[in-house]
């Protein structure tokens, strides 16, 4: 029984056409980035501050790679609502997460003296 449709592949609803190359590139790039970050941590190659920055940069890069190659973000026809909604979501998330970290960091640092905190955490409190 033939399983082949005619040669042209049908576009998926709202997604457009797909290619093997996109998936393979995305996969290979993600592999490289994952292993790269892993090695950086395991080998302790750089200082703490640089490490945080690098881990985040690599994470965001892999995020972008998979968004473009696996989720085809930006490939839709105009108006690009999916891309627009995605970017607004990222904006809101950054506001909420960065805002929360700023607020909570500020509050925590003003809550008690370091010696007090250390004592409390050694006693199982705070």
């Amino acid at each position: 029984m033939s399983e082949r449709r005619h040669a042209t592949s049908a576009p998926l609803p709202g997604v457009g056409h797909l290619s093997l190359r996109a998936y393979v590139s995305g996969f290979v790039a993600s592999l490289v980035l994952t292993i790269g970050a892993y090695l950086l941590v395991v080998e302790r190659a750089v200082s703490a501050g640089t490490l945080i920055a690098l881990i985040l940069v690599i994470a965001v890069s892999q995020f972008a790679v998979q968004l473009v190659f696996f989720l085809h973000l930006g490939a839709e026809a105009r108006p690009r609502w999916r891309l627009a909604m995605f970017l607004t979501m990222v904006t809101i998330v950054l506001i909420l997460v960065v805002g929360s970290l700023w607020i909570m960091g500020n509050l925590n640092s003003r809550m008690s003296m370091p010696e007090q905190e250390q004592y409390m955490s050694s006693q199982g409190g705070l």
Partner: protein
């Protein structure tokens, strides 16, 4: 019992519009799920130092294990993409095989994760030990719950394709599932980076 449509059904404009709306709506839902995970991430970062005298991530995380999990999930995202490729080209059997591979890899991920959770619980590093561990379990656990739902969904989609072939409805369902499964790997990138890598590096 594989039936394949010899020619794709004539695209009904009304139905195509409805499908596009469904895919868009699901995409928007995924964005709300991102906000849900963002809240869990924020909670994790705020609480990750609150070990209450108990173990920290640095002491608990076994990196080779985590790398294996991560590879499994990444590979499953890739095979899911292959399933989509096969589907749009009408290769029903290939699509189902690719989905089966995805299922196997996803199940491997889940099994590894559950075993990790069990180990932590057994050594006294369960979710009630400290704020840090509560946040860890809820963040990683919510992701795991999504994976579980995804596996269930994947099984249903694969079964439907196996029995009914690749009609318009199945293609739409596969598209939705694909978006969901890729999104789970996207979230894992951040869990891997923020929870495990930063935890292991004692950052």
């Amino acid at each position: 019992m594989i039936r394949v449509e010899a020619h794709p059904a004539p695209v009904d404009a009304h139905a195509a519009e409805a499908d596009e709306r469904t895919v868009f709506g699901f995409w928007v839902y995924i964005l709300t799920d991102c906000v849900l995970f963002a809240s869990l991430f924020a909670t994790y970062v705020v609480l990750h130092g609150n070990t209450a005298g108990g173990p920290s991530g640095h002491q608990l995380f076994e990196m080779p294990y985590v790398l294996a999990e991560t590879m499994a999930l990444l590979a499953s995202s890739f095979t899911c993409g292959l399933a989509m490729l096969a589907a749009v080209r009408g290769r029903t059997r290939l699509a189902v095989v690719a989905l089966a591979l995805t299922f196997a890899l996803g199940s491997t991920f889940l099994a590894l994760e559950l075993s990790e959770f069990h180990h932590l619980a057994v050594i006294g590093a369960g979710w009630s030990r400290s704020g840090f561990l509560s946040a860890y379990f809820i963040l990683v656990g919510t992701h795991g719950l999504h994976i579980t739902v995804g596996l269930l969904w994947m099984a249903v989609v694969a079964a439907r394709i196996w029995w009914s072939g690749l009609g318009r409805g199945e293609l739409r369902r596969l598209t939705l599932f694909g978006i969901f499964w890729h999104f789970l790997d996207l979230v894992w990138i951040f869990i891997f980076s923020v929870v495990y890598l930063m935890g292991a590096a004692h950052l």
